[in-house]
Amino acid sequence: MSEQLINAIAEMDEEGALALTRELLAAGTAPTAILDACRSAMEVVGKRFECGEYFIPELILAGEMLKGISAEVKPYLAAGQADVKKLGKVVIGTVKGDIHDIGKDIVVFMLDVNGFEVYDLGIDVPPQVFVNKIQETRAPIVALSGFLTLSFDSMKQTVEAIRAAGLRDKVKIMVGGGTVDEQVCRYAGADAFGPDAMAAVTLAKGWIA
């Protein structure tokens, strides 16, 4: 039946996925098995996104389904049981002056479901707040999001602040969102530009390998 759950999520059958989760739990299925099924389903969703079959709406609905399933599973979980070994830490935020969060939130979600420990600093994040979080978490990956052209300078300032704090050679920095492109990546002094959420996952996985 786990296979059915994987299919329901992967096929964007929201009602079916939640109903199956309830059935599985009622039948005594281990809650961790259900969470494993969710992870397998998200791999399928991610692959379909990468090959251009799925788009942002599918990622958002998948996020909703996972939220719903987690809520169902939670009462059955013993403390610490849901913890899985994380691949690595990522500090992410929308840079100073920019309050756009939709793209950033999708990247956070995709990094999270792909096994990263994500520290989301939110929107309009000053450079020093990035620096503080990197120091605190020792995260090796930083993701800077921005929608507007004003974000170009904020990205540059953030990278400079990271350098000034002596952390530049300890982190890899990716940029993305709205009008951001390769040129902005070079301008800001970042390491890579990603056009979408799966690109962020691919970059992050490449950097921790």
């Binding site: 709406p57 052209t149 040129q183």
Partner: protein, 442 residues
């Protein structure tokens, strides 16, 4: 008398635009104005104009270029006016760069606008205004919108999005007022304190808008008459999917609605089509300018599949486009983001007459646009915001020349930045304009 054909309506609107009652400062300005109007008419009709025209949609660049903050520009009408006059004097684009798009800070304060943050209200003084989407229409309110869009806007949407109009939520629908005995009971709500505050706010907002408009009119009017730059945006309307996705439901919610209640989404969009057309026609007629601006957002690459684009986005947008064209209006589609997946879907659509639309692209492959759309629709854009903001004038010029070489040689092409211009060096702006005058001559 036989009704006018759309071709006759197009001719009439362009003739009216050319013959606007303007007191030109000089004969040269008048000649430049008429030459530019002709250039736009030619390029839309896919002919070769005298040269490649240049079009740009100003964000806050005119303020920053004048050395003032966005906050100053939005709150001090004198400063706004001075900045835009200077801008139009220095940068001769092929339209007036209008100060009408950035809006009035005091007006938004009076209304207590929730859909946006702007300098002094949530974002930095030098930033641009930024949308703050929300579910201003709830997921179970589609039927209210479909049943009576105006009533929904007046009693649900506007009271939520303008906090100072919250009192309108206590009114009954205006269509309740049908007979003498029902008039008194209806009006009770209109006199209760929350509604009274809303009426007073409307009065104050109306007065502020008039004050602002007098500055916009005088500022644009000065630049039009002095430099011969025609007004270009006769008004604006939206793709129905974007009205739902930007305005009413927000990006996340509309994407989920597409799965959870697709029939409601489709029905609501159908309902919005005639409203968008009527709005565009009304504005273009009042302005005596034949272009209606339609910014495209939530149908871009990545935002949905091609299949969904064909089902949810394109049919009602196309209906709006055709509705405007039938009234002699040119839809000016500002295609934000990438449209590489979409250009094939839209290409050479037989229902849209040849040479009747203007499309400005951003991150879309212009060679592909040329290949698929050549001889069908006027297009342009694509000069990257990143290049204008961080590149050199030499690079900008080289980019523009490559673009002209690749796709402009047959006419029907407009050089334009791909995105709204907030940040750009003066040298880069000059480089684009100079390229049109020096390299873009036919």
């Amino acid at each position: 008398m036989a009704p006018l054909t759309r071709e006759q309506k197009f001719e009439a609107r362009f003739a009216e635009w050319a013959a606007q009652p303007i007191q030109f400062a000089t004969l040269e300005a008048e000649a430049a104005y008429k030459e530019r109007v002709q250039m736009w008419k030619d390029v839309i009709r896919l002919k070769k104009p005298v040269r490649v025209p240049f079009l740009m949609l100003p964000g806050i660049h005119p303020f920053l270029h004048a050395g003032i903050t966005t906050e100053e520009g939005m709150y001090d009408y004198e400063k706004m006016s001075a900045a835009f006059k200077k801008y139009n004097e220095e940068f001769r684009t092929d339209t007036v760069v209008s100060c009408g798009m950035v809006g009035s800070g005091p007006l938004f304060d009076i209304l207590d606008y929730k859909l946006y943050q702007w300098p002094g209200r949530g974002v930095a003084p030098t930033a641009s205004y930024q949308a703050l989407e929300g579910e201003f229409m709830k997921d179970d309110e589609y039927d209210l919108l479909i049943n009576d869009p105006t009533d929904f806007f007046m009693r649900y949407y506007l009271p939520r999005v303008f906090n100072a109009l919250a009192g309108w939520a206590t009114l009954g629908p205006l269509t309740d007022i049908t007979e003498l005995p029902f008039t008194g009971p209806y009006m009770i709500g209109a006199g209760l304190p929350p509604a009274v505050k809303a009426w007073e706010t409307m009065l104050e907002a109306g007065r502020e808008a008039l004050k602002w408009a007098s500055f916009v009119g005088a500022t644009d009017g000065y630049s039009i008459a002095t430099f011969g730059l025609p007004a270009f945006i006769g008004g604006a309307c939206k793709a129905p999917f974007d009205t739902l996705g930007d305005t009413l439901r927000g990006t996340r919610a509309i994407m989920l609605d597409k799965f959870r209640q697709p029939k409601k989404v489709l029905a609501a969009m159908e309902r919005l089509v005639p409203l968008a057309i009527a709005s565009g026609v009304r504005q273009a007629t009042a302005a005596k300018v034949p272009f209606i601006f339609i910014p495209l957002h939530k149908g871009a690459d990545g935002f949905m599949s091609d299949k969904d684009f064909k089902t949810f986005y394109w049919p009602t947008l196309k209906a709006v486009i055709i509705g405007l064209i039938n009234e002699g209006i040119v839809p000016y589609l500002f295609v934000e983001g990438g449209y590489n997946q979409r250009i094939e879907v839209i290409a050479q659509d037989p229902d849209i007459p040849v040479g009747s639309t203007l499309w400005i692209f951003d991150k879309t492959d212009m060679n592909e646009v040329k290949r698929l759309w050549g001889g069908w629709a006027c297009f342009g854009g694509n000069v990257p915001a990143s290049l204008l903001s961080t590149g050199s004038a030499k690079d900008v010029r080289a980019y523009c020349e490559r673009l002209i070489d690749a796709v402009a040689r047959d006419g029907g092409f407009v050089l334009a930045p791909g995105a709204v211009v907030d940040h750009c060096t003066a040298e880069n702006m000059h480089a684009m304009i100079d390229t049109c005058h020096e390299y873009g001559i036919y």
